[in-house]
Structure formats: C-alpha cells, structure tokens
C-alpha cells in the first residue's frame, strides 16, 4: 500500500499541484467512461473583448486597496477547502423526491457551467494581457473558478452525472462584449452570488434539518471567494470615474434591474428546491436584493427601490409572462404563436415598468473596500 497522497488542493505552487495530480491519476482506476453515467456536455460560451483597453487599466489610484486584496488572494485562504471531508454526509440520491432531484441537478450543472465559463473568460483575459496587475488578478480568479467547478463536478459524479468536456472539438463562435459591460455584469454576478450563498448558509445554520445535501456546508468559504472577486471588479470600476457616472448610470440601472429580475424569475421556476430548503422564494429574493444593494453602494451611485409598490407585483407579472411564453412554445398552432407574442410583449412591458421605477441615489464612499459581514 502506498502512502496516502497529498491532495493537490493543498499544493502551494502550480508545479507541485501538477506533480500531485499526475501521481494521483495513476491511482484513479475509475475513469468516468467506465461507469454507466448520465453524460452532460458542458456548453460554456466563448468571448472576446477589447483586450487592449483592459490591458491599459491603471490601478495606481487604488494601489493600497488593490495590493491588499491581491495579497489576500495570493495567500489563498481557501486552499484545501474545496474537498470532501468528514462533513460530507452520505447523500440518499435514490430516496430523494424526483422533482427535487431534477431541480437540484439543474442547480449543480448550471453552477458548474457558470464557474467553468468564468474560468475560461478570466483565463483568456490573463493570456491576452501584458499588464501585470490585471493578468495576476485574472489568473487568481481563474484558479478559484476552476476549483469551484471541480468541487461541483464531484458532487455531480456522486449523483451519477458525468460532465463531458468534449465541447472543445466542436466548432465554436467567439462573441464580443465591451469591457465595461463585463465589469458591470461580473461585478454584480459575484456580489449577488455572495448574497445568495450566504443567505442560504445562514438560513441552514438556523435550520439544519433542511440541509438536504452537504454541499451547502461549503457555501460560507465559497462565497468569500465570490466576495473577493466582486471587490476586485469594484476596484477596477473605481479606477475610472466615468464608468460610474453620467450616461453609464443608466447602464448600471439596467444591469441591476436585469440581474434582480432574472434571479427572481429563475428562482420561482424551481419550487421543489426552495421548498426542500424551507425557503420562501419571495423572502429569499428580498433578502438577497437587500444585501446586494447594500454592498453595491460601495461603487454604484444608485440602488433599485425594491420596496416601491410597483416592484414586487411587476416581478410576479414578469414571471407569469415567462411561464406563459414557455407553455406556448411547447404548443403548435396559430393561437399558440399569438399567445407567445402577447406574453413576450407583456414581459417586455413588465421589464420597462421595473426599469422606470425611480432609483435611490446616494453618495459613493471614498474608499471602496468592504469585508464580508453577513
């Protein structure tokens, strides 16, 4: 019998990690292909952006905060965290309610794809840049995303779902996003991700009987990675005041509204998941929006008025229209096409109604950095 192998999640350098991985591979006799598993092809998207513009970012105006954040990421507080230990309880996949199982696997696959796409995007930025500050940041974030994806993948394997990475040999098209849109979207995505995970984590701390899978126990440290990534994007936004003033405030409002509305609609489409967690999706949405708004005040000069009388009922209308569109899509005939068109118009109107709710304005603090406090 050989010595127990060191886990490469504990490696300090890339070289050490690779050496451990290669050693480990020799002992891994169970290849995914040997097992009769459900095969899921990951379908990440591929992006380009204005890499020169991104490379020209100068972080000297936020140097102290920047260095502190990068040092924290380099120290890698979550190294070794993303692996199973005694806390990983046995999961009764056979006994799980089929509706819950379906929704939970959707959660795992979607989360895995998102982490994976994040990794591809960050890695590409790292590769195309020459600015040391920027390339180092993206390299560190790619490391975290790949680690998260690997962790979710392991949970999927346990559920009998094998992730297929064969997409690379398929023809794929590269689309284009403007750098500022990447900043707004990923900043919000990281911060709302933190708020979503920490809200579930705290809820399950108080109600452990609802923790139907051990992965939720990892959410606290996990979302601290998301929090740090969000901090990095906040600092990037801070380097150019134009990004958070003038006409760009309208873009910020658009992204806030779109991200909140999408989250509301998607969560309400997964009733079994939320019921099993003992979470009311309306309560959850309000909690997550409140936390995200509070956090985003660090850099955005506006927040959405989520207590406005029009907010909640319009979100419900949007959700209803979305369900009706999907139903009509599944049917044939002129009447179905007409229903699809009517409901698409309803959804668009609902979004406009949400977007035109007056935003709350506030002063942005001189220093950007925050610590996770929820």
């Amino acid at each position: 019998m050989n010595m127990p192998l060191k886990h490469s999640a504990d490696a300090t350098t890339a070289e050490e990690g690779l050496a451990i991985q290669e050693e480990q591979a020799k002992f891994d006799s169970k290849s995914a292909t040997d097992l009769a598993m459900q095969n899921t092809l990951l379908t990440p998207r591929f992006y380009t952006t204005d890499f020169d513009e991104m490379d020209a970012i100068d972080v000297s105006s936020v140097r102290d905060d920047w260095d502190e954040l990068i040092d924290e990421m380099v120290s890698d507080p979550n190294k070794g965290h993303f692996k199973k230990n005694a806390d990983w309880d046995q999961v009764d996949w056979e006994g799980m309610d089929p509706a819950l199982r379906k929704e939970f696997i959707d959660f795992l696959i979607s989360s895995c794809t998102a982490e994976f796409s994040g990794c591809v995007l960050y890695k590409e930025m790292k590769r195309r840049g020459t600015n040391k500050d920027i390339t180092q940041l993206f390299q560190l974030m790619a490391r975290d995303e790949a680690r998260h994806a690997g962790f979710i993948n392991d949970a999927l394997r346990e559920a009998g779902v094998a992730v297929n990475l064969g997409f690379l040999t398929q023809k794929k098209k590269y689309t284009y996003f403007r750098p500022k849109f990447i900043y707004y979207a990923t900043y919000l995505s990281e911060k709302i991700g933190y708020a979503r995970y920490i809200t579930i984590f705290r809820h399950l701390q108080a109600h452990p009987e609802h923790r139907f899978h051990p992965i939720f126990k990892w959410f606290e440290e996990w979302c601290n990675d998301e929090f740090r990534h969000g901090e990095a994007f906040a600092l990037l936004l801070k380097t150019d005041p134009k990004l958070t003033s003038g006409g760009n405030v309208l873009w910020i409002k658009f992204f806030l509204t779109a991200v909140y509305a999408t989250m509301f609609v998607r969560d309400h489409q997964r009733p079994a998941f939320h019921k099993a967690l003992g979470v009311d999706p309306d309560w959850y949405a309000h909690e997550v929006f409140t936390k995200t708004s509070e956090l985003s005040k660090q850099i955005f000069p506006i927040t959405i008025d989520i207590d406005h009388p029009r907010w909640q009922p319009t979100l419900r209308r949007l959700h209803k229209a979305n369900v009706a569109i999907a139903e009509a899509k599944g049917q044939s005939g002129l009447a179905a096409r007409l229903r699809q068109a009517t409901n698409s118009a309803r959804a668009a109107l609902a979004f406009v109604s949400l977007y035109t709710i007056p935003a709350k304005k506030h002063a942005v603090p001189a220093t950007t950095r925050l610590e996770p406090a929820y």
């Binding site: 982490e115 690997g150 689309t175 990923t186 569109i325």
Partner: protein, 98 residues
C-alpha cells in the same frame, strides 16, 4: 480580410483538459500566436478529447480558424453586447420546467 469574404487559417494548438477534483478546466492555446477576433469561429480537429476523472490531458492538435469577414466582425462588436447577461450566474438554467 475582406468586407464580405471569410479567410480560413490552420493553426497548431495545444488543448489542455483537466477533469480533476481540484480543477475542472479546458483551454486551447494557439502555438503560432494566432489571435481570435470577434465573430471568428474555431474548430479543433481530431476525435473528441476526453479526460478521465482525475486526469489532465494535454494534446497538440490542429485547429481551423474561420475568420469573420470585416462586416461580420463589426456586426459582432455591435450586437454581441446583447447577450452580456450570460455572464451572470443565477444557479439555475433558464428552462421554465424541467
């Protein structure tokens, strides 16, 4: 690159797929320094690359880059932003029912 014509290039590349617990990733690097622009399409040749669980697979392959025409590139730059919400993660797929 013409306004309406698409160039086709071959480029040697290295594909790395990691199917490991601590890192799940997949990357293509062009070994001749080729740069991908908006609207370009890339096809890596050869059979599907599968990394068994617990392994990293690195292979040198040949790729074809289908260069977008100037018009297509401009169009992608102008319209790509529409899909930017894809960058946000919401834990669930967009399917209304599963």
């Amino acid at each position: 690159m013409g306004w309406l014509t698409r160039d086709i290039e071959r480029a040697p590349c290295t594909v790395e797929i990691s199917h490991k617990f601590e890192s799940l990733h997949a990357h293509v690097r062009f070994n001749n320094g080729a740069v991908i622009n908006p609207g370009d399409e890339v096809k890596v040749h050869g059979p599907e690359i599968m990394a068994p669980f617990g392994q990293i697979v690195r292979e040198d392959r040949e790729a074809t880059i289908f260069r977008a025409s100037k018009l297509e590139q401009l169009w992608t730059r102008l319209t790509g932003d529409v899909e930017v919400m894809e960058l946000c993660e919401f834990s669930f797929s967009e399917e209304v029912t599963l």
